[in-house]
Amino acid sequence: MTFARVQRPSEFLIVGILAALAGLLLWDTLTAPAQSMERGPLGPTVFPIVVSCMLLVCAVGIAVDLLRGGHGQPEEGTADDRSDWATWAVILGAVTLVAVTIEPLGWVLAGGALFYLCVWAFGSRKPFRDLGISALMALGSFYFFYSVLGIDLPAGVLQGIL
């Protein structure tokens, strides 16, 4: 086997993720309490073990492919494109923030903040217009879900006002 130059070292992240998932699944399966209800020739552990082996085999396969100079084709652009991690982190942070704030603050504030942060991260710099649109989206979706679909989104601190 000839080892060509690895094109993108960061691509080994995929190998790591696959191996980690395989390990996690194996650990979860092997440490599970024994089942007294087990019936039939295949218990609840067989399928997880097969899948973790499949993950491991794929991890090894991709590692070998990378060492031989292979690479996964990104969806668009080329592997050399620079990544903008700041923008990326703001989007991810904004989504996670909603998980924390949706119940205490309510959907209108949490969702409005989410929309505003995303618009800002994606490059719009018109604070007044953007805040207005965010408020409109948050309130609009709240009332649409409430009145048309009959789903009560959490009102949070605005309970009683909305």
């Binding site: 618009v119 979706s141 789903i151």
Partner: protein, 530 residues
């Protein structure tokens, strides 16, 4: 047979009154409006709007219901195409090529081929429902666990090994999907798997959550990370109508999708997902424009959309004749029937034949109205893409979070959404296909269930998996598909060593083939060691 058509005519007579037509039109509009919300699919749209029909007398309720049903389905496809936020597992495939078409300024064509394909498939499917109800029921009853397992393995291999450039990456994505699908209680023993003691994970992750995370959040993160590489240019909207070339490329996928969709919809445990996956795989193999797949090929929208709608008609067949809902949407219809005190099942056609035929006639009418109302609106929907990029993607994230939260009202779901979104981003960045992951999540649990059921019935005898001609045929074809690159490589090697003899020039064609196959071969041969 003649009596059947007579009954159908009576159904039309009952359904086709001006008032009922108005209800149908309202149903189509409301269904589209709700279905077009990202993350809300047909079944959820129907379930949310169902209470509106309760005030009406049964015939009017059913016709409005049929309108909601088709409107919701079309609305779901619209968001899949425009925003890549599928509301239901059966429109996940549409999101792939459809959204790529939209990015290339061909959103109206994608929407139009989806609308016409759905119309044709829905109409043919409903005709088949009228004509074939009885034989289909017989076929469905004859299929057992081994056959279902074989069909699911076929779907796994079809989307993983046949599509994409790197088989090993396809199988890696499939394995991740199978792992996600395993989260929750084991259906047979109640054993908790991968729940880590979290009660929120006991029911597993909702498929809509996974799909929205991988597609919408993954896409938003991907665009965010590349924001400096691509200037903000509004996506072109292009000319609004299907060209003659689009039509000639669409009609075969429409018919093939219909042929795949109806039988799968009609068999219990079939559902709409498998035929959409198979249709996509088939179109990708059969297309005359393979270079367009992955960049927005119209066949990749036309086929799966038709398959989805034909499967819907098929699932109505088994719901009416067997009382078995094979899709989420028919489960909701079943609920609607029971609120009127009607019990679907083999006796339904006799006990309430007037209602059944009114419903079937309503399905025809709803389908026609959908086409009339939505085809002219396609260019208008497509203008949604004119929204500047910050607002468009902020909207995608916003609705993805909203849709996810509204499934279970669980804040923790949003954390899972973010985590799987990061996974979707990494997969995009390093060229792992996302479709096998989705297929694994949806079909993995069902495949495991059918396999274990089959082996329980046979008391551990693995030969039961090969006990019927259908199973043997499916596994035979799969073995051929998986082994073919290996065979070809061996043949090429023989040819190369033969041609290295003096006087024979190596054929450049076989060389090229070997280079092309080497990566995919690595994947397939490794997989067989599993």
């Amino acid at each position: 047979m003649i009596e059947t058509w007579h009954l159908l005519a009576e159904g039309f007579a009952a359904a086709l009154t001006p008032t009922n037509l108005m209800y149908a039109a309202i149903g189509v509009l409301l269904g589209t409006a709700v279905g077009v919300l990202p993350g809300i699919g047909t079944s959820l749209a129907v379930a949310l709007l169902l209470p509106l029909t309760f005030a009406l007398e049964p015939t009017s309720a059913f016709i409005m219901f049929a309108g909601i049903f088709y409107g919701g389905a079309y609305g779901g496809s619209t968001t899949s195409i425009l925003l890549r936020t599928p509301g239901e597992s059966s429109t996940v495939v549409t999101a792939i090529e459809g959204h790529l078409m939209a990015k290339n300024g061909r959103a109206p064509q994608a929407l139009a081929t989806a609308a016409i394909g759905s119309f044709i498939a829905g109409t043919i499917g409903t005709v088949l429902l009228v004509a074939l109800a009885t034989p289909i029921v017989k076929l469905a009853v004859g299929m057992g666990a081994p056959e279902y397992f074989a069909v699911m393995v076929m779907a796994f291999v079809a989307v993983t090994a046949v599509l994409g450039t790197s088989r090993v990456r396809g199988f890696a994505a499939l394995a991740i999907g199978l792992l996600i699908g395993m989260i929750g209680l084991d259906a047979q023993t109640g054993q908790q798997r991968l729940t880590f003691g979290m009660p929120q994970l006991v029911d597993g992750l909702d498929i809509v959550l996974v799909a929205v995370a991988v597609f919408a959040i993954g896409e938003a993160l991907w665009v965010a990370s590349r924001i400096r590489n691509e200037p903000d240019k509004p996506i072109p909207v292009g000319r609004p109508w299907l060209s003659r070339a689009d039509l000639s490329r669409s009609w075969r996928p429409w018919l093939r999708g219909t042929a795949l969709g109806f039988p799968f919809g009609a068999i219990p445990a079939g559902g709409a997902e498998i035929p959409t996956f198979l249709s996509y795989a088939a179109e990708r193999k059969l297309t005359k424009h393979p270079e367009e797949f992955g960049k927005g090929a119209i066949e990749g929208v036309a086929g799966p959309e038709a398959a989805n709608n034909a499967a819907a008609a098929g699932s109505v067949t088994s719901m009416l004749t067997l009382g078995l809902p094979t899709s989420a949407t028919t489960a909701v219809i079943l609920a609607a029937f029971t609120t009127y005190g009607i019990q679907p099942g083999p006796q339904l056609l006799e006990s309430h034949s007037d209602l059944v035929w009114a419903l079937i006639a309503s399905l025809f009418i709803g389908n026609v109205l959908l086409l009339i109302i939505n085809l002219p609106l396609a260019p208008m929907w497509a203008k949604l893409l004119r929204i500047p990029r910050p607002y468009l993607y902020a909207g995608v994230v916003f609705f993805a979070v909203l849709g996810t939260y509204s499934i279970n009202a669980q804040p923790l779901d949003i954390v899972f959404l973010a985590a799987i979104g990061v996974l979707g981003f990494v997969m995009r960045k390093y060229g792992l296909p996302v479709l096998p992951l989705i297929v694994g999540v949806i079909l993995g649990p069902r495949a495991e269930l059918q396999l274990r059921r089959a082996l329980q019935i046979s008391d551990g005898d693995f030969w039961t998996l090969l006990s019927s001609p259908l199973c043997v045929t499916i596994y035979g074809v799969l073995a051929l598909v998986l082994l073919w690159p290996l065979v070809r490589k061996l043949r090429n090697r023989v040819a190369m060593s033969a041609s290295s003899r003096p006087g024979q020039a190596p054929s450049s064609e076989s060389r090229q083939e070997e280079v092309g196959e080497s990566t995919s071969l690595a994947g397939s041969s490794r997989h067989e060691t599993d």
